[in-house]
Every structure is written in C-alpha cells, then in structure tokens.
C-alpha cells in the first residue's frame, strides 16, 4: 500500500509538472461536444441520447489518458526503476489505476458541467447527485481496464493503436451499463436516482476485472 501511494504521488507530481494528459483529455471532450452538436444537428439533447453522447465522449477522452499512462515508464526507465525495488509489483497496477481514476475525475469535473452547458436540455443541477455514483463506477472500470490494456500495449510496437483497439470492446459492457444508468437521469422528467440494476452491473464488472487484473499484472512485468 505504501508502495502504491509512493508511485501514485510520483505520477500525480509528474502530471502536475508536465500538464500534458489531463488538459488534452478535457479539450478533447469539449471539442467532441461541439462536434456532436454539429453531427447530430441538435441544440439540446436529453434522455438516452444525451447519456450516449456523454458516455461515449468520456470513453474516447479516456483513451488519450490510457495511451499515455505508461509512456514515461517505458521511455525513461521507470519500469526498471520500479522492478529493481524490493516491492510488491501489483502495487504498480493499483498506483496507475488510481492515477488514471484521478485524471478521469478531474476530466469529469470540467466536462460534465460543460456538457450541461452546451448540449444537455434539462438542467444539470438536480441530476448531479445521481450522476456521481454512476460515473464513479464507470471511472473505476475505465481505470482498471485502461491500466491493464495500457500495460499490455506499451510493450508492443503498435502501442497507441493496440490500446484502444483492445480496450474498447472490453469496455463495452461497462459502456452499456453507464449509458443505460445515466439515460433515465438525463431525461426531462427524472427521479434523480440512477437505476440500481445498472449500478449493480457496473459494480460486478469492476469487481471481476479488478480481481483479474490484480492476479495477472505480475505476469506483464516479469521477464
């Protein structure tokens, strides 16, 4: 645990210094909203359509973060530095997933209000409380799968291509659950609480893949 915190601190510090990943993700999301406006030719959207646009945008913006996650380790000897230390290697998975989760939360802090401003018909305010658990579970899914897939892709020749190409199909069940979980929330008339069924599915997805990733990560690091 201490190891994971050390690595996480290092990654957050690096991101604060370089300021590359999170700003890019945020800009990407906002531009995508603009593109959706023109692509759908709609001034406002609501309900399941809005849920789809929001979910898909967050998903694709996260791909930027996923692609960058292990680049510094690969190019600046970070893997060796970590592997030389007498630490539990799965801590790297926990740290990186936590870092990615943090980046996604920061992304959403900007992108969701932007979405409310630019595209969402019904007012965002009353819906925020309901959105938080869905997005939190979705971010967890993105963090776990993203870290796993990024760790696989970084060792290949086609690294920026393979990450998304493997990650997106893997994330489809999470995407389904997130979109269907937010759909009722973004409808014109909403109860304000997300459908329990989809939260449960997201939680199950997160649990299964988090456990699997934790069990398998060591094999990606050994040599």
């Amino acid at each position: 645990m201490r190891t994971a915190l050390t690595v996480l601190r290092k990654d957050l510090l690096l991101e604060l210094r370089a300021m590359e990943t999170v700003p890019a993700m945020v800009l990407f999301a906002i531009v995508t909203f603009v593109i959706f406006h023109f692509g759908l030719n709609r001034a406002t959207i609501e309900g399941q359509l809005a849920a789809g646009v929001l979910t898909v945008t967050l998903l694709f913006a996260s791909m930027l973060g996923i692609n960058r996650l292990f680049v510094a380790e690969r190019e600046q000897g970070g893997f060796d530095a970590f592997l030389l230390a007498p630490v539990d290697r799965s801590a790297l998975l926990v740290a990186k997933a936590a870092a990615l989760f943090t980046f996604l939360v920061v992304l959403e802090l900007v992108a969701v209000p932007a979405f409310g401003l630019l595209l969402l018909g019904p007012p965002l305010g009353p819906r925020l409380l309901g959105l938080i658990p869905v997005l939190a579970l979705a971010d967890l899914a993105l963090a776990v799968i993203g870290t796993l897939v990024s760790a696989i892709a970084i060792q290949t020749r086609a690294r920026d291509l393979l990450g998304p190409v493997i990650g997106l199909p893997l994330l489809i069940p999470a995407l389904i659950a997130t979109a269907r979980g937010t759909g009722p929330l973004l409808a014109a008339h909403t109860s304000g609480s997300p459908p329990g069924k989809w939260l449960a599915i997201l939680a199950l997805y997160d649990a299964v893949f988090a456990l699997l990733a934790y069990a398998l990560f060591d094999f990606l690091l050994e040599d």
Binding site: L148, I152, Q155, T156, R157, A158, L162, V165, I166, P169, L170, I172, P173, I176, A177, R180, K197, I201, L204, Y205, V208, F209, L212, A213, L216, F219, L220, E222, D223
Partner: protein
Amino acid sequence: MSIYGRGLRGLAIVTVVTISTALVLVFFYAPLDADQGFIQKIFYIHVPLAIVSLCGFVLGGLFGAGHLRTGERKWDMRSYVAIHMALIFGVGGLITGSTWAKASWGHWWEWGDPTLVSFLIVLLLFATYQPLRFSIEDPERQSRYASVFAVVAGAFVPMNFIVVRLSQEFVHPRVLTLTGGNLPGPMRLTFVVSLAGIALLYATLWKYEMAAKNARGQARALRRALLGDDAVRPLGRSAAPS
C-alpha cells in the same frame, strides 16, 4: 508420432461420419419449421458454430492460464490454436447468423438478437489477438502477454453475454431461436448431432494444427542441434508461437 498426431486419423473419421449424419438429418429428417420454412435449417449450423466458437474462446483462456501457471510454451501453443480456430468458427457463426436474419426478417443485421450482438463484440475483441501477438517481437514475452489477453478475454465472454442480454429487455425480443427453448424431438436430435459434428470438427482441426506446429518446431530444434544455429533460418516476426 507426437501426442497430437496420435488418434488424429480416428478422430477425423469420427468427425466425417458425424457431420455426414448431421447433414442427412438436417435435410431429410428434421421437419420444416412452420414459420420460417426451409431457411430455418441454417439454425443447425449457426447455433453449433456459435456455441463451439464461444467454448473455444473460453478454452483458449483456460490454456492461457495454464501457460501462465506452468511457464511451458506448449500451453501457449494450445491457447493460440484454440483461439484462432474459435475465431474462424465464430466468423462462420456470424455469417450464418446474418444470413438467417436476412432470410427471416429481411435485414442483414438484427440488434434485437443478444446472441448475435454479443458475438460480434466478442469477435471484435478476439480479432485483436493476432495483431497483439504480431506486435511483440520477443517470443517469451509474446506468449506471456497473449496468455494474459486470453485469460481476460475468456472471462469477458460470459460477462459480455449477460450484460448484452440484460440490455435488451425492452426491445422486442426477436431472438434467433425457435419457439420457446423447447425443441420438438426430431429437431432436438438433429441439433444435438449437428452440435456434436461441429464440436468434433473443431477438435479435429485443433489437433491437426497442433500436430503440424509441433512437428515443425521439432524439426527446427533437430536441425539446430545437429547442424548448429546457423543452419536454421530465423523465423522472423511471427504471430504464432514457435
């Protein structure tokens, strides 16, 4: 003969017999479906292909786990062959499913069928398996990473199926099966024999490819041992374990 070659001929014969029997049953024994007519008979190849393909992917995941646990390359070879055979059978399942949809409802794709849809997703995922392998040059790392992928993707198959199915409750369940889930006797028999035939075909092809790859690997090792490293041309980049 290697362990994969042993029994291969016997298995192949049993496969041919079973498939021939299945064909006979399909065309001459199974009754015509009242709603869909003759085209319904695609069911007897589509569903077995889908089932065997999905099982093949899960099997690939199990073999991958075996490789990770034991570190022996032969498990990776088994995983590779299982997955790539399952992919081929899967594409066959997708094509036959699409054909059936066209014939039954007039369009080539049907989002309302959870089996077809989750199948497409699974195929999209496993289509990345070979590019992933090809993209890693070091053979040991390639095997290890492919095994990790196989395990994750194998676990994904049932999860995906369940979630897609759950996502479709309010859509008209235009499911590509027959009335209810209960097949009348003659249809059930035909289906079971077809399923057995496709499963045997998968097993035969799997064994055959394993035998071929194994033989090639042994030939190379022998050449290297007898004639030295230089006598064996390097394989170059390859997606297949050697």
